[in-house]
Symmetry: C2
């Protein structure tokens, strides 16, 4: 199989972690006889520094022409603490999602038995948890009109959804539910929001097309609570952009650390694969970041964009083996981890490659 | 002290639980020589059934004329599953918040040592946690203009904030932080939302007026994660209406159960006290609901609206004693709780009264 893969490291630890996602893809290509050609491009703070634009045209052009994209992370504290900044790294990420029509963000909460102890949740609460989030990615209050009045006394963001936007992700989520344990939970705030009422209406209309899937509706406040109380009760979770952002980060604690979670953003064109963690500038360049989320993002790429299930499985297994052998990065170590089992980014990447 | 207290049981388990909040207030009045006069009024589904209006004028009138309000719960599945319903129970609650100017919702996450085991979080993660949420309650996407186009292909809700709305709750939160461990964390999504950027700007402007308080800003997705990972790191948390709704429900798992958490909504007039749990129609009328959140809401009323700190403390102590003696309702029991220690709503209420 011949594929063109674009690597966009982005900001902060993005550079370090994508290095390992890429090396794993190279190792897979060699072992299974595929030919993966790599290119790279800039985005976010890095791109603002170089060109003034968080998503340069050249990056978008390369993205459109690639078969899949491996992305690192975005953001910089400089902008976070300056609410009046007009140009922001995150605009690059939001724009590429919109331009490539990446409307479905899949976030599997994969629980490695070896990491049961790394979580703040009790092992008996966690054991057996297996959740697949479908977060809508191109609508909601993220993309609605923003306003600030002249004398700075008022600000607004429009939260909005079109019916077709809800329909297409709902179908994707139901299809996935059919291949899993046939349970779908749609999360909204229909007791308060009109957008949520449209959302719920659409899910209710589509549900009968998938009679083998059991559908449940839950309010976001309740879902945020249930996810901590009893994560096992969830299987496929379908939700809007903002609620999905919050719930999936919360759910990362189920997997022990954000450093473990990969995500796939898909739509009608090129797929986009990224860890759910952020740019973590505080540890950037110190060989401390956990490369496993980037490596697992590469596995999602093999599976979802290229249909290479065996290759994807090989990567996931390599990660599981490494954990089983006791190797940990700092974020997934605990008080009982022997000091000589705690690795840096590079050493962890090498262990998985072996 | 002479006070007029309005009881609004609302829907579902609201009736059962407020009975016990009220009885505790009566017991306190008797013991400490106060004179509390009680009246009651309807709201929510109950009020829709009786009058067609989730907040009848008479209820609002009584609310305005009372010194404090003890509220139960709101909501009914009938409306939840009917996204096109025009009249909804929740409108009653939202309207009374707006009409009474209850802009600050205080939600203390009070951790009783006896309940450390009832939580899904590890005891060592929980121990020592003490958080006070300040959730803004009269702005945000809850009250902005809602739209649905004619052919039902589009829906929107306006998320908005006025500067003065952010200012007044920010000051309340800083004042509270000064009396506690002098740490305030403001939660927003300033990397995406204009409303959040205004929010952050205002908090940054006001912070220097409280130089003894250490201020931190956190994105909502990160906060939802940190709250599970390391709840101890939070003290006063300040946030907008929607984010506060989500975070406080999530945080209820720290206290072991939603059935334990009370909240106070205050502004410039009458204070409004309610459990954070919902109407739980599935267990309503079965003597299963946990009355402790309503009893603790009564304690908050004594403390915040009437300035009766000693009386409030007496109530909180009675709850702690009851838990120490091993008594539990179903929601806070665990596998090791002896069956004869598990009480119904009524029996639990009576234990606290004793
Ligand atoms: C960086 C930010 C704009 C982004 C989001 O909120 O979508 C991130 O938190 C994510 O979840 O991918
Ligand atoms: C019932 C609902 C409208 C309400 C809210 O979202 O504010 C509730 O969840 C709460 O937190 O008091």
């Amino acid at each position: 199989m011949k594929k063109n893969i674009l690597i966009i490291p982005g900001d902060g630890i993005g550079q370090e972690v994508t290095t390992w996602g890429k090396q794993v893809l190279e190792a897979i290509a060699q072992k299974y006889g595929h030919s993966f050609a790599f290119d790279d491009a800039i985005m976010g703070h890095t791109a603002i520094e170089a060109t003034g634009n968080p998503l340069p045209d050249e990056t978008l052009e390369k993205a459109r022409n690639s078969d899949a994209i491996l992305f690192g992370a975005i953001g910089h504290a400089k902008y976070d603490n300056d609410p009046s900044a007009k140009v922001r790294p995150e605009q690059g990420l939001l724009k590429i999602r919109k331009e490539l029509g990446l409307y479905a963000n899949l976030r599997p909460i994969l629980l490695f038995d070896e990491l049961l102890d790394a979580s703040s949740l009790k092992p008996e609460v966690l054991r057996g948890t297996d959740i697949l989030f479908f977060r809508e990615l191109t609508g909601d209050v993220y993309f609605g009109e923003k306003n600030r009045n002249e004398d700075n006394t008022f600000a607004s963001d429009l939260m909005n959804y079109h019916r077709y936007e809800v329909e297409r992700i709902t179908r994707k989520a139901f299809e996935a539910a059919q291949t899993r344990s046939k349970k779908l939970c749609s999360v909204d705030k229909a007791n308060v929001l009109e957008t949520s009422r449209l959302w719920r209406e659409v899910v209710q209309e589509i549900a009968p097309e998938y009679p083998d899937v059991e559908t449940e509706h839950m309010f976001i406040d309740n879902a945020a609570m249930q996810l901590v109380k009893n994560p096992k009760k969830f299987d496929v979770v379908l939700t809007a952009n903002l609620f999905g952002d919050i719930l999936t980060d919360e759910a990362s604690q189920i997997a022990g650390s954000m450093g473990m979670l990969a995500s796939a953003s898909v739509g009608d064109g090129t797929g986009f694969f990224e860890p759910i963690h952020g740019s973590a500038h505080d540890i950037a360049g110190q060989n401390k970041a956990n490369p496993l989320a980037s490596i697992l993002s590469a596995a999602l790429m093999l599976d979802i964009s290229f249909g290479l299930q065996e290759e994807a499985k090989a990567v996931t297994n390599a990660v599981a083996e490494t954990l089983k052998a006791g190797w940990r990065t700092g974020d997934i170590a605990n008080a009982e981890t022997p000091a000589d089992k705690i690795l840096g980014t590079k050493e962890m990447g090498e262990k998985v490659l072996e």
